[in-house]
């Protein structure tokens, strides 16, 4: 392929196990990448302002990776993942508040619930494609928002739930903010690991086949709906875990903070798109770029007037959409291929 040609529709980095991306070398590469992701944490662990940003970055990187499983690999552009995020957050806090169940355990029922609920609510929508699917899942988010406000006994209604500060390891409440950062890093690492394993598994290949061409996949004997449902269960369960961690970190959750599209449901999509949708590293890269940028702009321009930092962020998004169609991961991949091509010609 000549360097002047347009890149193929699906970036080459999607290859789950290509010539250079296989076996032990990849594992080492991913471990090195995760190690690199630890560097800001180690460098800035004394700075509370940056520590908070890094904590959020790890958390949202993990959430974007989870979203990317069904949306990027499976091609099902969900805008309803806020529902799973919220269910995870509410379940974990509610179990802790009412029965004193440790969040370490309480996070699991939420994840299981979503692993069942996700396929159940997505099942009827899988007939829809493209923007129709996106809008239908967006509607789930809105229905859930209304119900979260309504079911006060469960969710605390519009006032939300407050988890009292009782620092203890078993309560997943820490006096030292660095422990949260480590926790979120662990979440991100697990999400990435699941992605990597998935993309080398049979389910991962099926998922790519379904994304590329449903009819051909079906003709090849793949149960299209079954594959989508299993990927949804995985994606929704992981998102719920992220929601539970979020709830224990902020310790105060309400419908606004859990369902606002630009902060939750759509944000997973934005991070993945900016980093490179359908790649393993893309969502992480997106989170590492956008979350700190957003917080930094807010701190820098917060005094200049309300909304100024968001105007800038909007422009960054617009420019990214216009000039980096394959996201950061796609841009890096194109650069690498061009470089390799030049070397071959010599």
């Amino acid at each position: 392929m000549s360097p002047n040609e347009e890149p193929p529709l699906i970036p080459e980095t999607n290859r789950p196990a290509g010539s250079i991306l296989s076996g032990r070398r990849t594992t080492i590469l991913y471990l090195a990448g995760l190690g690199l992701a630890l560097v800001p944490f180690l460098l800035l662990s004394r700075d509370l302002f940056w520590l908070n940003i890094i904590t959020y970055t790890y958390l949202f990187a993990g959430l974007a990776v989870a979203w990317n499983i069904i949306a990027g690999f499976g091609g099902q552009f969900s805008l309803g993942h806020g529902v799973f995020f919220a269910v995870g957050a509410y379940t974990t806090s509610r179990l802790f508040l009412t029965w004193g169940i440790s969040p370490w355990l309480g996070i699991l029922p939420g994840a299981l619930l979503c692993a069942v609920l996700g396929p159940l609510i997505f099942l009827p929508t899988f007939r829809l494609k493209g923007s129709f699917f996106a809008i239908a899942t967006l509607a789930f988010n809105e229905v859930a928002f209304v119900f979260a406000n309504y079911m006060e006994s469960l969710t605390g209604g519009p006032r939300g739930l407050q988890v009292p500060f009782r620092a203890a390891f078993v309560n997943m409440i820490f006096a030292d903010p660095r422990h949260y950062t480590g926790l979120m890093f662990g979440f991100m690492a697990i999400a990435v690991a699941i992605s990597v394993v998935l993309m080398r598994s049979r389910l991962g290949y099926y998922l790519l086949a379904v994304r590329e061409d449903e009819d051909s996949a079906r003709a090849a004997g793949i149960s299209v709906t079954g594959v989508k449902l299993r990927a949804t269960a995985l994606s929704a369960g992981l998102t719920a875990i992220g929601g539970g961690l979020f709830a224990m970190y902020v310790r105060t959750i309400d419908p606004i903070s859990l369902f606002t599209l630009s902060d939750v449901g759509v944000k997973f999509a934005l991070l993945s798109l900016i980093g490179g949708i359908g790649t393993i590293t893309g969502p992480v890269l997106g989170a590492f770029l956008i979350i700190p940028l957003e917080s930094y702009l807010r701190a820098l321009f917060g005094g200049a007037g309300p909304g100024v930092h968001l105007v800038l962020l909007g422009f960054v998004m617009l420019l990214a959409a216009l000039f980096m169609r394959r996201g950061v991961a796609g841009a890096i991949d194109a650069m690498r291929r061009r470089w390799r091509h030049r070397n071959q010609q010599r």
């Binding site: 529709l9 091609g75 552009f77 009827p124 929508t125 007939r127 829809l128 494609k129 493209g130 923007s131 129709f132 699917f133 996106a134 809008i135 239908a136 967006l138 509607a139 789930f140 809105e142 229905v143 209304v146 119900f147 406000n149 309504y150 630009s262 759509v266 999509a269 934005l270 798109l273 900016i274 949708i277 200049a304 007037g305 309300p306 909304g307 100024v308 968001l310 105007v311 962020l313 909007g314 422009f315 998004m317 617009l318 990214a320 959409a321 216009l322 169609r325």
Partner: protein, 295 residues
């Protein structure tokens, strides 16, 4: 409150939803772009009406003549600069319109510093009785406007050359191009008209709502529900879909629980999406066209 009263309230509310949805449905149906910023176009037009009032003392019904063409131009510029380059990249288009949404909302927020405005209109404040039901002029005007717009748009699409080319491009982009239709220009005009219709909605809504930068969010999801309910790219669908959503909201708000009214029409919307994904007036098969098949 008797049933007739609820039905009147519902129909007038449906008029608002219909008016916001018509432009969105045109863009969605023809160009297949999910324009998340549509509610912000409406919001922008509301502030346009305020600007006309504050600088020239114009009644919002008069400033329609200025704001609607301005929104058409704005729509054309946005389409040319942002959306046309992303043609065939549906997920990036969603992303870009979301970026536009954030920019527009926050530019207005930064300019107004979050202060709430309202646009007074002497004409809009009048009320009159229909039997024992009192109706404000502003809501009746919207109902009449959405009806007139639906009829006019229908005639425009059926009879005029531009309208015919819009329909041709919707049905088959490739064949339309082979017949000598300038597809890109048709898309640009369509987006402009969609934005202008959002502008009309915004101006007519400005006497009813107090203005805030986030007000577009109140309309956009309802508008999506209307579009899917009524049917992709169908003018009649947007009109009657709006009425249905308005009526359901009014009935559910009265008989079930006002807090749940939105959830109920969303559930109906989901049910329609699942049972009849083409919507009530849509062409069969439209929903099957996903992101990739557009090319």
């Amino acid at each position: 409150m008797d049933l007739v009263h609820i039905l009147v309230v519902g129909l007038l509310l449906g008029g608002i939803y219909g008016l916001v949805s018509i432009g969105l449905n045109l863009i969605f149906g023809v160009i297949r772009i999910v324009n998340f910023a549509h509610g912000e176009f409406v919001m922008l037009a509301m502030y346009g009406a305020y600007l006309c009032y504050a600088t020239m003392g114009l009644d919002p019904y008069v400033s329609t003549l200025l704001v609607v063409p301005a929104l058409f131009v704005f729509g054309v510029v946005v389409y040319r600069l942002v959306l046309q380059p992303l043609h065939n990249e549906s997920s990036m288009q969603i992303f870009a319109t979301f970026g536009l949404l954030i920019i527009m909302q926050n530019v207005i927020l930064a300019i107004t510093r979050g202060e709430g405005y309202s646009v007074p209109s002497k004409a809009a404040a009048l009320t009159f009785g229909l039997g024992d039901i009192r109706i404000t002029t502003s809501r009746l005007v919207i109902f009449l406007a959405v009806t007139a717009t639906a009829v006019a748009l229908h005639v425009f699409l059926k009879k005029t050359l531009i309208g015919k080319s819009i329909r041709a491009v919707t049905q088959d982009r490739q064949s339309a191009r082979l017949m000598g239709i300038n597809v890109e220009r048709t898309y640009t005009i369509t987006f402009g008209i969609g934005a202008a219709l959002a502008g009309l909605a915004g101006v007519l809504l400005s006497p009813i709502y107090s203005l805030s930068p986030g007000i577009g969010g109140n309309f956009i999801l309802a508008a999506f529900a209307v579009v899917v309910l009524g049917g992709l790219g169908s003018v009649a669908g947007a009109y009657f879909g709006g009425m249905i959503v308005g009526l359901v909201e009014a009935l559910a708000g009265y008989y079930i629980d006002p807090e749940l009214k939105q959830a109920i029409w969303f559930l109906i919307f989901l049910a329609v999406l699942i049972v009849r994904p083409t919507g009530l007036f849509g062409q069969v098969g439209a929903e099957e066209i996903g992101f990739r098949e557009q090319g």
